[in-house]
């Protein structure tokens, strides 16, 4: 028995919507199996993962605050991925955004003005974008693989943050703890409702979704992103510059990641610490794919992935399930998303045995696209 793929003449719109849903369903099923294997009641475990966090107002706010960085980063990454630019280093750009944005509350902590927050956010975006410009420069100037360089820079950013909070930026009155001084009132993104966890960063995320939806849906730049992402040669023929697009993709996603970093530090952590992210920059990659690189899809997917973080916490509290299971869930989800995306371009059928007609394909007709793709 084996699977056989037949290319559809055009991509299936129905499957484009159905595929993420199938992927989520498969993740839940396999999740239940996983819990059963670990010795937990699957129904109870799934309930505490996916339902319990949605039952109380405060946890809905937590959901929004965790979804904020995920959506911000993922929506930027979607532009890069659509243009076939592989920025894998969002986690590092997030960290750099947090560091740049924190310059103001660390060095000018006495400055009390309404301008502090906007300045911090802008600095965060600049930090993320500058850091993202390194792999973009190396890619355009030397042709260096951006996947590896952007990823290596994640480690470097982590070490830089570690050095800052243990060294020059350490809180002088903080009993040698590795952290900066607490941010002043003026440097904290205020909660949107009362004293809740949801801060104004959530608005940035929604605005980012709207801006990118508009960019991709109706502008020439968005058209350029799609053309260069799908067929580079055709993009050059249209007069679009690949190099500028690499910069565009990296700078945009870097700026959004940087904003996510400073917004989370300012709104949630409220100081710099060695660890300011539970892997948002990587989880956002899953969000981008689960949302099918579509801004609205990403908004929904961001909430979904934020739910896994919250569900992990709640399952740990109520059932004693390790919070490490969250990342297993997330990894599984991405695999299922990628696997289900096959349905969009191909019809999949199960063939029994070594069916007849399993012949080598036509060498003549298929050689041409293969050469052209080089």
């Amino acid at each position: 028995m084996r699977l056989e793929l037949k290319k559809r003449p055009e991509h299936s719109r129905a499957m484009a919507i159905a595929s993420p849903l199938i992927a989520i369903a498969l993740t839940v099923i396999f999740g239940a199996i996983l819990f059963a294997v670990l010795g937990y009641d699957p129904a109870k475990a799934l309930y505490s993962y996916f339902i319990e966090p949605l039952t109380e107002a405060w946890s809905l706010e937590e959901l929004a605050s965790k979804a904020t960085p995920l959506v911000l980063i993922a929506v930027g990454l979607s532009v890069a991925f659509l243009s076939n630019t592989w920025n894998i280093g969002a986690e590092g750009q997030y960290t750099m955004g947090a560091i740049f944005g924190s310059i103001i509350p660390v060095y000018f902590w006495q400055w009390d003005s309404w301008m502090v927050l906007p300045a911090m956010m802008v600095m965060g975006m600049i930090g993320g974008a500058l850091y993202a410009s390194i792999p973009a420069f190396l890619k355009t100037r030397f042709g260096t693989n951006e996947i590896l360089t952007s990823l290596m820079l994640v480690y470097v950013a982590g070490f830089l943050l570690d050095w800052l909070v243990r060294g020059p930026w350490r809180d002088p009155g903080g009993y040698n703890f590795p952290e900066t001084r607490d941010f002043s009132e003026a440097a904290i993104l205020p909660p949107m409702i009362g004293n809740g966890a949801m801060h104004w960063g959530a608005v940035f995320a929604v605005v980012a979704v709207i801006v990118v939806a508009f960019l991709l849906g109706g502008t020439l730049k968005g058209f350029e992103v799609k053309v260069l992402g799908q067929a580079e040669r055709a993009g050059a023929f249209a007069g679009f510059s690949r190099k500028k697009m690499v910069y565009f993709g990296f700078l945009l996603s870097g700026a959004f990641s940087g904003l996510a970093g400073i917004a989370t530090v300012s709104g949630t952590v409220q100081q710099l610490q060695p660890s300011i992210s539970p892997g948002y920059g990587f989880t956002a990659i899953i969000v981008a794919f689960l949302g099918r690189l579509n801004p609205v899809g990403i908004l929904i997917a961001g909430l979904m992935l934020a739910l896994t973080y919250l569900g992990g916490e709640s399952a740990q509290v109520t059932m004693g399930i390790s919070d490490k299971v969250v990342r297993v869930f997330q990894g599984m989800l991405l695999f299922f998303v990628l696997a289900c995306d096959t349905l969009i371009l191909y019809r999949v059928s199960i063939v029994s045995g070594r069916g007849k007609g399993a012949r080598p394909q036509d060498p003549v007709e298929n050689l041409v696209p293969a050469e052209e793709a080089v």
């Binding site: 502008t219 799609k226 053309v227 023929f237 036509d362």
Partner: protein, 538 residues
């Protein structure tokens, strides 16, 4: 090639053809609703050079793939030496003694000649022995090859030799050749014919697929003609005229497109002045000192063998690669060498590249979006203040669809769902719709059916007669003689002066293709020396 094997008079070949080697009975192959082969009967004898004629899409490739085991027929029977056989795979075909030389070589560029051949043999000997055998066989048949060369470094002609030698090493009794001369100069083709005639004399059957009627008349003793998947006739091509063969292939007299031959006197609308480009990659053949002027009202064609720098020249003219000097490319007298492709379009030029999918069109985008690809900034109202005007693009798509008879399964489909001919009509229509002052086309009818090809060629001539300058890059000499007022030849990035089509002959073009027109001998040019040898020999 001095030590080529014994020479006998080729005219004797095939007349004493032996028993029927391969017989195909009622071969039928369906692809969905399409009947690619419809009860085909066919036979080839030992020692016979047998032509398989037909248009693109007539079912030649399907039949050949069935004979070579690459496709399975839905119905029908194959007899080999009078016994029914099932050819389940190319390996099974090779085991029977059937070899094939593909039109587009299935070679591995990163591997050596010997490694490539070893891969294709069912039971290859040790590398060292194999290399020796390759040298022996290639020398014997006048196909010199170095077994240790990397394929990436070889010319197209040399690559074809690998395919042929690889076939010969298996001592085949039937060799199938798919359009073998489409990549060769006329002189190289002569060399190939000598090899084939010698093989036939040794008793090998050769199934020869071509649409070049003159060479079929010269080489083949029998022919089977296919049309729409059916056998519509068989004949002795030596007793036919090219015209009678053509009408059998097409089924009716083809509407002849003909340039009227009056010299154009309009202004120069496209000029290339000493256009020289750097190599973009190790395998590129960039233009070298190319000079050309195309006047309004004329069609100028650039002939050449594939891989001699056609696409690099196209990219340099279109602005996908930018020249060092502004005056290297002039569009309507305006120095454009430093401009990008969008500015050159604004200057009134339009371009149609060779590759339709992936270069001229984005496979996964709808046709209306593909219109935007070349016309987003040409003042057609498709983009207003960076916002896309999708409605206008849809209207334009409808207009082009009507004017150029583009057939599609549904409204505004993705480009990849169109057939080759329909997509080419769309891509041509997209540019012609602008009535450009300068049109540059690379391979306008490559892989396009005869009806669409005639439509495209006629529209090129019409555009020129309306006062535009049309430059056509083509590897199809028939097409070039059909539409061109003047002809130039590209060889390893150099362009011969354009001469009136009436003064050009196939022989002269062949010599120029072989490098006779090149001015400087940088490097040990294989093409030049090969052509030189041929001239000396002739």
């Amino acid at each position: 090639m001095s030590d080529a094997g014994p020479t006998r008079t080729p005219s004797g070949a095939g007349d004493d053809a032996g028993a029927e080697l391969l017989v195909a009975r009622a071969i039928t192959k369906r692809f969905g609703d399409l009947l690619a082969n419809d009860h085909i009967d066919f036979a080839i004898r030992a020692g016979e050079i047998h032509a398989l004629l037909g248009e693109n899409g007539a079912g030649k490739s399907t039949l050949v793939k069935i004979l070579y085991g690459a496709l399975e027929p839905n119905e029908g029977q194959i007899l080999w030496d009078g016994r029914p056989v099932t050819i389940a795979s190319p390996a099974a075909a090779r085991a029977l003694g059937i070899g094939m030389v593909f039109q587009h070589f299935s070679l591995f560029e990163a591997l050596t000649v010997a490694e490539n051949i070893a891969l294709a043999l069912n039971d290859a000997p040790a590398m060292k022995d194999l290399s020796e055998r390759i040298e022996t066989v290639s020398r014997d048949y006048g196909l010199p090859l170095n077994p240790a060369s990397r394929v990436a470094d070889l010319s197209v002609g040399q690559r074809q030799r690998i395919e042929i030698v690889r076939c010969l090493l298996q001592q085949p009794r039937l060799i199938i050749m798919d359009e073998p001369t489409s990549v060769l100069t006329p002189q190289e083709s002569d060399g190939l014919f000598k090899t084939l005639e010698r093989l036939a004399l040794e008793g090998c059957a050769i199934l020869y697929i071509s649409h070049r009627l003159e060479e079929v008349k010269r080489l083949c003793r029998a022919a089977t003609i296919l049309r729409h998947g059916k056998v519509v006739g068989s004949c002795d091509p030596r007793k036919e005229t090219a015209g009678s063969l053509a009408s059998m292939m097409v089924g009716a007299d083809v509407k002849q497109v003909k340039a009227d031959g009056t010299p154009a006197t309009g202004p120069v609308r496209l000029a290339l002045n000493d256009l020289t480009m750097p190599a973009e990659s190790p395998f590129a053949v960039p233009p070298k000192h190319v000079g050309l002027a195309v006047r309004g009202g004329e069609v100028v064609a650039i002939a050449g063998i594939a891989g001699n720098g056609q696409s690099e020249l196209f990219d340099a003219i279109s602005g996908e690669t930018i020249a060092r000097q502004a005056d290297a490319v002039e569009i309507d007298g305006k120095p454009s060498g430093r401009m990008g492709i969008t500015q050159r379009r604004r200057a009134g030029a339009a371009f149609v590249p060779e590759e339709r999918l992936g270069h001229g069109a984005v496979p996964g985008l709808a046709l209306a979006d593909n219109i935007l690809l070349t016309r987003h900034s040409t003042g057609d109202g498709l983009v207003n203040l960076t916002m896309l005007a999708r409605g206008a693009a849809r209207a334009m798509e409808q207009r082009i669809k009507g004017a150029f008879d583009v057939r599609m399964s549904r409204d505004n489909p993705e480009a990849r769902s169109l057939s080759g001919g329909n997509l080419q009509k769309f891509v041509m229509g997209r540019e012609l719709d602008r009535s450009p002052g300068v049109l540059v086309v690379n391979q306008p009818t490559w892989g396009v059916d005869a009806g669409a090809a005639a439509l495209i060629r006629q529209s090129l001539i019409d555009l020129a007669r309306a006062g535009s300058a049309v430059l056509v890059i083509s590897q199809d000499l028939d097409e070039i003689f059909e539409i061109a007022d003047r002809i130039a030849v590209i060889s390893r990035g150099q362009l011969s002066p354009a001469e009136p089509a009436s003064d050009m002959t196939r022989e002269r073009i062949g010599l120029l293709m072989g490098g006779a027109g090149e001015t400087n001998g940088d490097g040990s040019g294989d093409a030049v020396s090969a052509a030189g040898e041929k001239i000396d020999a002739a």
